[in-house]
Amino acid sequence: MKKFLEDLKNELTKQHMLEKDINEIIADHEEMIQNAMLEGLSEEEMKKRFGDPVNLAKELASFSTHEAEPFNIPEGYLAWKNFSTLSSELKIKISLVAEDISVVHSQDEQIHVHYSGKGDISKYTCTYEDNELVIEAPKMSGFIFMKSKNDDIQLILEIPKSLVITNFQINIVSGDLYYANLNANTLTLSTTSGDVTMLNAIITTSKWNTVSGDLMITDVKLENLNSSQVSGDMHMKKVYVGKEMKLNTVSGDIRIEDSLCQDCALHSVSGDITGMEFYPSRVSLKSVSGDITIKNKNHTDIEIVSKSTLTGDIHIQL
């Protein structure tokens, strides 16, 4: 059965499970195998009773928390800047125009910035001083829509997981933001037409302003969230807000799945707001012509503080 334990451990590691979970699972199996031996089971009977460790590991991994997948820098990216960090805290300020940026966790203890594209990287600013990282696109002369394909730039910013991001401020006009596997105390986000993808993060206070870009938010824990969007859509999945969540939309649709929060205020002019398996404790709903629907399987008490609509439908099915 030694081989069973070894195979199980290898497969769990392969499935990117957390080390503490792996250790616990192995300890549980050592205990169960010992008990099976005390019962006097033969090696053959043991094999039958414990089954296949590979299948077992896959099954266990299917509902467990995973180690953040290492982010592989795609081909075509070049290293631009590397900084050794001087403190355990970090402030970040990013202001970009049409550049896409991915902000992910670093594989080591350094801050790395990579770039790709045909644009002239030397016109960009990237500094790290007084525990503040600043990335800025060159000041534009002329209009944004005059930018040609010949000066596009994509950036990847890698931040060590051990750093505490105290304040993260990011402004992008038309570029997209991908933010994954990083925690922050305060995150302020503002985009015009760029899309935002946020994955696996813990953020204390966050404020999002978007105009026509879409937001995809998955596996994010927040204390307070204040979001305001004009015509872009938002899709939230597995979002947990400890205190207050305020979502405002003009004509964009909002879809919230498998999420919960304490106090929730949903305001819409003509966008539809749909909650599926969405469990706020208290909720206030306001719309002009948009529909607001909350559909949950489990019956829980949701206190409706206020609801008003002019011509939209408000449906709460519990």
Partner: protein, 119 residues
């Protein structure tokens, strides 16, 4: 048998065991496999998943025969879940029996009537 379906039934069996008493992982496997064809690969993930969801809590008990054993204890939340699952199961299996026993329970009787009908 369909794996997903079987898993649901075994989940109910695991919950039933823990409604009666606190017990340790291997004991559950050993008890259940006396009656149904099931192995550790199916039971352990259920124990772990239901523990993660707060349906069971665990505690260690020293054993005379070796390492301490991890005992599983059903929580109130687990009990509520068990009752819900049980109700679903009862109404489902009740319906299934009604359908399959429409022609009687005895195999010979079912066969005789089938033969009569096709001849």
């Amino acid at each position: 048998m369909n794996a997903q379906f079987k898993r649901g039934i075994i989940e109910l069996c695991v919950l039933s065991t823990l409604v009666e008493k606190d017990t340790y992982g291997y004991q559950i496997i050993s008890d259940l496999s006396q009656y149904i064809d099931v192995n550790e690969n199916t039971i352990y993930p259920i124990l772990r998943r239901l523990t993660n969801e707060g349906y069971f809590t665990t505690y260690l008990v020293e054993s005379n025969e070796g390492a301490p054993r991890k005992y599983y204890k059903m929580s109130e939340k687990g009990f509520t879940y068990y009752m819900q699952l049980r109700e679903e199961w009862d109404s489902f299996i009740g319906g299934v029996y009604h359908i399959i026993n429409q022609g009687g329970k005895k195999h010979e009787e079912i066969l005789r009537r089938f033969k009569e009908r096709i001849n």
